[in-house]
């Protein structure tokens, strides 16, 4: 089994037992959606609210995703085993992707209730928007989580950095989701290209710098 799968499996087992990320992110997302839903906002605001909620909940959770690699300097254990830093990053990002995607599923369910939204016809396109939107958020959030793992005010710093950096991706994802949910419809290829470019850019930057990020 490659290091990628070994680390990904370990991360999911640890999250399954520690319940460190998913419950807190899901509860925060539900609270935000319930509060905004209760204000009587129209359904066409739902996509923007959904993606902002995911970005906020994600940023609070991703900051803790490296805690399990730093409280006993486990990252050094991985480096001693000569694990390629790129594999460490990709495995952590994949685990974070699955956790954030689970939060999105819960959030999507809440949005359909609080904003009375029907499941759209173009489900495959919507799935791609979610895939790439989550990919952009997680690619940058995982790198920032690693960079801030040892920082004193990491809980405050990660949202402050991730939210503006991911704003173009969040806006593109929200715009595409809105178009897919509206009766008028319209093409979303531009937003998908932008999201793909963001995901690839963030992953490329992370792969280039991650070795230095995890250095002592």
């Amino acid at each position: 089994m490659s290091a990628f799968w070994v680390i990904l499996r370990k991360d999911l087992v640890v999250e399954g037992r520690a319940r460190d990320l998913l419950p807190s992110m899901a509860v925060l997302a539900l609270l935000l959606l319930a509060m905004t839903g209760a204000t009587g906002l129209r359904a066409d605001a739902a996509p923007a609210i959904l993606w902002i909620t995911v970005a906020v909940a994600g940023s609070t959770g991703l900051v803790r995703s490296f805690h399990q690699e730093t409280d006993q300097e486990q990252l050094h254990g991985l480096r001693l085993a000569a694990v390629d830093p790129a594999m460490i990053y990709l495995a952590k990002a994949a685990a974070n992707f699955l956790i954030v995607a689970a939060v999105e599923l819960i959030a999507w369910g809440a949005v359909t209730v609080f904003f009375d939204i029907a499941i759209p016809q173009r489900r495959a396109s919507l799935a791609v928007v979610f895939l790439l939107g989550t990919g952009s958020l997680v690619a940058m959030g995982t790198l920032l989580g690693a960079m801030l793992a040892a920082a004193r005010m990491r809980e405050a710093l990660l949202p402050m950095l991730l939210l503006p950096l991911s704003a173009p991706a969040v806006m593109a994802a929200a715009g595409a989701t809105a178009r897919l949910l509206s009766e008028a419809g319209g093409p979303v290829a531009g937003e998908l290209r932008l999201l793909l470019a963001f995901t690839l850019l963030f992953v490329s930057v992370a792969l280039l710098v991650f070795e230095h990020v995890i250095e002592d």
Partner: protein, 231 residues
């Protein structure tokens, strides 16, 4: 692995943290079948030196070679076993799962995890999560992790700190056993008596520089204390 020279070769290494020099032009070798003790008062740079030797901290100047290859190269890195103040273990995994995880990363058969548990008297604790284990048991498990891949260079940072009597006995047996197997063993300690008992060679580090080098058997407590005073 090319192995004409020492197994561990630390050449003119300097390292600082936050502008404070922690290691200053340190050169040391760890030879096959010998135990080297790094002595020094708190803050002398012992732990940093071991971390640099293990390849988990990068020096600003100088280099470290393991079996002739630069540390950091996978082939060199996998020859190093390191047990330090922190365990590198995952609290939510069991003792056995932790060793299996590292065995998989090293490309070893899962059976090695069972052997490690057996060797360090942890078999009856194998299903307990690390966060439920006592400090002494975690220390034993950390040693089992460090030895899982049978490294040629073993680096132990204060290996007796926090150990119970049984674990101390295991470590006291382990060090000469590794020496007999031709490994280079380096122990960082502040206790000169431990160094004299277990090591062949000793280096006293003061303020990041080697201040005294001699055979461990001739170490004298008063002299070591005098060297410490120069810090």
């Amino acid at each position: 692995m090319s192995n004409a020279g020492p197994l561990l070769d630390i050449r003119a290494v300097s390292k600082s943290y936050g502008g404070r020099a922690v290691l200053r032009d340190v050169s040391l070798t760890g030879d096959a079948g010998r135990v080297l003790a790094i002595l020094g008062p708190n803050g002398a740079g012992k732990s940093t030196l071991l971390r640099v030797a293990a390849g988990i901290a990068r020096p600003e100047r100088g280099e470290v070679r393991i079996g002739g290859r630069p540390v950091g190269e996978p082939a060199a890195q996998r020859q190093v076993g390191f047990a330090g103040h922190l365990s590198f273990l995952y609290g939510y995994l069991s003792a056995e799962e932790n060793l299996r995880f590292y065995a998989q990363l090293y490309g070893l058969p899962a059976a090695r995890a069972g052997e490690g548990l057996e060797r360090f008297g942890l078999r009856s604790h194998r299903r307990r999560s690390v966060r439920e284990l006592s400090r002494g048991l975690v220390q034993r498990l950390s040693l089992a992790r460090a030895l899982l891949h049978d490294p040629a260079v073993l680096l132990l940072d204060e290996p007796f700190t926090g150990l119970d009597a049984e674990a101390s006995r295991i470590v006291r047996e382990l060090i000469p056993e590794r020496r007999r197997r031709g490994c280079a063993v380096v122990i960082a300690t502040h206790a000169w008596a431990e160094a004299r008992e277990l090591a062949d060679d000793a280096v006293v580090l003061v303020a990041g520089r080697p201040a005294l080098r001699e055979e461990a058997a001739s170490l004298d407590g008063e002299r070591v204390a005098e060297v410490y005073q120069t810090a």
